[in-house]
């Protein structure tokens, strides 16, 4: 059996999405900016896709800018504001995806102020710290909505109120949360949100940035007048159509199916001795992404577990230092205060629409087996006593 439990990394394109997409590659291939019938057909499809994405977050269609994915959306939001405002300070969190983290690093090098706000042990933003750091010169606050490692879902409305109280602008990276958590841009007042198609069973290389009407951002590159002047380049009609279709297929029913598989897996794995769930509890879907499980098995190392499971056809990921090129443990797990040796044994399992309960049961069985085998190899059995041996 092959079980893909790495849906936070990317997902399988739904065959229905691929089918829909194909039509816009081989049949309706016109340039959406052309005046002739070929162009008009493409334009109609593109605008339908835009409407559809807008509807999912209660936005207006003219507030949706199609991009090449989550990374570009994050860059467009952050750099776009910096280019428009020319100077100022930005606030972000300690648990951002590299698409935000490294963009912040880049604008810092260009002279903008950047302050990282701390999170609590479940990954929730410290709202007092946000309040304290907000001042007149803060041009943007960018906070990850649904965390890709530990699944923490921030309180969009509460953050938005604080940010707007001080007259600043709020961007949220919703690449992981889009369609999994209800998002209402009107009710919450958030100014920009990033989305990506490949996290929800759509194709890679397409995403969107919601930009509230009236928020001024500069494009990152120059060309034609496409996408309201915010993102030039001949529109990726097939990608946009596929993205919209994928979003439509993420129904409430599918979300609850995903949650029940995730819940089963977490409950079963927490039965394993000396295992812990990282991030918020699994009960409230508005506090933790329904598809995310992040578990530490003490006394073993995550990369080893990943490879053992790989032999059984099960795909997971890990935040262990051993799995990173820099040999640094995950900055997210560090930010929530996890000890180095606890991070060492962390694995992330993320579900998608194509997982089944049968797969979940198989995965649970094999994970338990592999944890047991690795613990037999480990010098630590029931405690980390004498862990601090000198090298």
């Amino acid at each position: 059996m092959r079980v893909y439990l790495d849906n936070a990394a990317t997902t399988r394109v739904d065959p229905a999405v691929a089918e829909e997409m194909k039509k816009y590659l081989t049949d309706i291939y016109g340039n959406a900016s052309s005046l002739h019938a070929f162009g008009r057909e493409a334009r109609e499809a593109l605008e339908r896709a835009r409407e559809s994405i807008a509807k999912k977050i209660n936005a207006n269609a003219n507030e949706i800018v199609f991009t090449s994915g989550g990374t570009e959306s994050d860059n467009l939001a952050i750099q776009g504001i910096c280019l428009a405002k020319k100077k100022g300070k930005l606030l972000t969190s300690t648990i951002e995806h590299p698409a935000v983290n490294n963009t912040m690093l880049a604008v810092k090098e260009r002279g903008f102020g950047v302050v990282k706000l701390a999170v609590d042990s479940e990954g929730f933003l410290n709202l007092d710290a946000l309040q304290d750091e907000l001042s007149g010169d803060v041009i943007l606050v960018s906070i990850i909505h649904g965390n890709n490692e530990i699944g923490t879902v921030q309180d969009m409305k509460a953050i938005s109120e604080i940010v707007h109280d001080k007259g600043s602008i709020l961007h949220m990276d919703c690449v992981q949360s889009f369609t999994k958590v209800p998002i209402d841009v009107k009710k919450t007042g958030v100014d920009m949100i990033s989305m990506a198609s490949h996290k929800i069973h759509g194709p890679k290389g397409v995403g969107a940035l919601f930009v509230r009407e009236g928020i001024e951002i500069e494009p990152l590159f120059y060309g034609g007048p496409h996408e309201f002047g915010k993102r030039p380049g001949t529109e990726n009609v097939a990608g946009a159509v596929a993205f919209a279709k994928a979003a439509e297929l993420m129904t409430a029913n599918e979300i609850s199916k995903i949650k029940s598989m995730r819940d089963y897996l977490v409950r079963e794995l927490l039965e394993v001795e000396d295992s812990l769930l990282n991030g918020p509890g699994i009960d409230n879907p508005n506090r933790r992404l329904v598809n995310n499980a992040n578990i530490t098995f003490k006394y073993i190392e995550g990369e080893s577990l990943l490879y053992k499971l790989d032999d059984y056809g099960i795909a997971v990921s890990t935040g262990s230092a051993c799995s990173s090129r820099s040999l640094k443990p995950s900055h997210v797990l560090s930010a929530i205060g996890l000890d180095h040796k606890i991070i060492h044994g962390t694995v992330r399992m993320t579900f998608g629409r194509f997982n089944s309960m049968e797969e979940t049961k198989y995965a649970v069985e094999k994970i338990k087996l592999c944890v047991d085998e690795l613990r037999q190899i480990s010098p630590f059995k029931h405690s980390f006593d004498n862990y601090d041996v000198k090298g």
Binding site: E301, C322, R325, I377, V389, G391
Partner: protein, 135 residues
């Protein structure tokens, strides 16, 4: 051989899947315990020595694929060696036997060799104190 980061050689995976000499020797003649402050891995190596020859060896490792396979192959290599021969082993000997490791994983082979040096050191210390006691 150019090693792609995170692509392990067949040899490495073989040892990882089926580690040799894993476990603890309760009445070991020498124990080497080392930890890697960078990545957090920990390795214990136990040796039994008779007439200056390593007759038995076991390891316990809290670490990644590279750390586990480095420990496993090292135990194979040193079994039957004299203390002096074992002491001369370097990380390059381990790497050669494993058909290489990616640059970021080289430190895992270093850890295995350090565990061995420490176990030998421990063995010598015990032997010396035994001798003193016998005086």
């Amino acid at each position: 051989m150019k090693m792609d980061a995170f692509r392990y050689s067949k040899k490495v995976l073989e040892h990882f899947r089926n580690p040799h000499n894993m476990g603890e020797i309760k009445d070991a003649d020498g124990i080497g315990r080392v930890g890697n402050p960078v990545c957090g891995d920990v390795m214990y190596l136990y040796i039994k020595v008779k007439d200056n020859v390593i007759t038995d060896v076991k390891f316990q490792t809290f670490g990644c694929v590279a750390a586990i396979s480095s420990s496993s192959i090292l135990t194979d290599m040193i079994k039957g060696m004299t203390i002096e021969e074992a002491e001369k082993l370097t990380k390059d000997d381990v790497l050669k036997k494993l058909d290489g490791l990616a640059p970021v994983k080289l430190h895992c082979s270093v850890l295995a060799v350090e565990a061995l040096r420490k176990a030998i050191g421990d063995y010598r210390k015990r032997k010396n104190s035994e001798r003193q006691r016998n005086c």
